[in-house]
Symmetry: C2
Subunit: 274 residues, 2 copies
């Protein structure tokens, strides 16, 4: 372990935010790390247990462990802050003081306002958005398109499903998706069922080589996966998007987060969930 | 707008981390805010455009706008930092200096190491995990259970599907889920198909009242949604979990993030994606 730096993400909730920011910071350094998340540290006792765990793990290390924290409660945080033999990066409390001064109100220091389901309706919106998206995946149901916030259109395996699910889960956005069929592509016409929803349409496209490789993994040596077929479908889909004035996005080098984020901002979608 | 504080999340990537941390900080204050995310600010020109947008929006406000940033590049960040008439909370650069001193190496200040698909395999793992999860949702396919990292077991509408999808999307974890049927519940026996995968099983349970309300929304006045039926199913499922020694979780008051996070830590699952 001597060349690997030990890192802990400690949170009073899930630790997802601490992981995201801490990981993003660490990728800036050419240092090998071993990263461990310790979630749900919402009492002094649990903080003491976390501390023991950190010290035990790092006992043989040459360097002191790095701890990224999003703990809100000052008393719980103090357990980490006053411990020797670790270095603490405090993602939360660092900003609370300056924010109090700027907002001119004291903070409440209450755990769990974020991501919680204290607000039942938030939970319901996400579950409902996921169900909607699953029911309207791959053109499975063409009804209720009017309830969709956005309808993703593209050839098979152009990233519609993962993007839809991410939008539903992360933001509570209702997404339907419609896979362009051979018939749609041959006719170069917008499928009739989509015509009434024109304002909600958003195209996804992808580099044919990449599509070929994705489809080949799924159905090796099929007509469906042939490079020529991929080239044909992508070219026809893009023609349709341009002819019909449907905005579209080439997702070849994009992560799911980037696709989702771009869609939200280009379409002005409103997130229902934080 | 005079009573609403204007807040911007500015990022060189999607802004998802800035939103998560910034939102979590703001929930500590009894202050009404209007929150806007400005993603993909990855050049000085874009930063200048973002700045114009911020100043235009806030021109009539009584208070200066609050800007939360996760911008990595110091030159791009400088555009915000040197602007008058806003208050900047810098989630990234605040920690880079201290981290450099602790790690004794300079940071690379490179945009986009996180969430990216610079690493193709990360992208593939997530897509593959989502496809696996969709194919193994609701007991749809009982094959390939051996590839699952975890198999969620529970009565219908006990949170299996959203939790599965979140684990796949956020962490690249392969999740199957198995809905307990009437037959399974009557027999109080572990379904045979699950017996070989005993070590991967994890139960989800839920308060019968809450289940009743969820099912009623889905199928009003059905036998399936009756409170008695919900009570019966939940009691039988919990009996089975206890008899068979399957660890289980009551998800009634948990968010999807909390369910996912708890599962990862209780089962020692390894995330494949950051």
């Amino acid at each position: 372990m001597s060349n690997v730096r030990r890192v802990f993400f400690v949170s009073d909730r899930t630790g997802i935010t601490a992981e995201a920011l801490g990981h993003s910071l660490l990728t800036q350094f050419a240092v090998a790390t071993e990263q461990v998340t310790i979630p749900f540290i919402d009492s002094v006792e649990r903080a003491q247990a976390a501390l023991r765990r950190i010290h035990t793990a790092a006992a043989e290390d040459d360097c002191r462990p790095i701890v990224f924290s999003t703990i809100i409660d000052p008393e719980i945080l103090a357990v980490l802050r006053h411990s020797e033999g670790l270095v603490l990066f405090d993602f939360f409390d660092t900003f609370i003081g300056p924010l109090e001064r700027e907002l001119k109100v004291p903070s409440s220091h209450v755990i769990g306002r974020s991501h919680g389901i204290a607000d039942d309706s938030t939970y319901d919106v996400r579950i409902d958005a996921i169900n909607f998206t699953l029911n309207h995946d791959d053109g499975a149901t063409l009804r209720h398109y009017s309830r969709a916030d956005v309808i993703l259109v593209g050839v098979s395996r152009s990233g519609k499903t993962p993007s839809s699910l991410y939008l539903a889960l992360q933001f509570g956005i209702y997404v339907a998706n419609y896979p362009l069929t051979d018939e749609d592509l041959t006719g170069l016409r917008l499928p009739r069922v989509l015509e009434q929803q024109r304002d909600k349409l958003f195209g996804l496209t992808i580099d044919p080589d990449r599509l070929h490789s994705i489809r080949s993994e799924r159905r090796p040596n099929s007509h469906y996966a042939e490079l020529r077929q991929c080239e044909y479908e992508v070219a026809r889909a893009e023609s349709m998007f341009r002819r019909e004035g449907i905005p579209y996005l080439d997702i070849t080098t994009m992560s799911i987060e980037e696709i989702a984020s771009t869609l939200i901002h280009q379409r002005g979608l409103v997130r229902r969930v934080y």
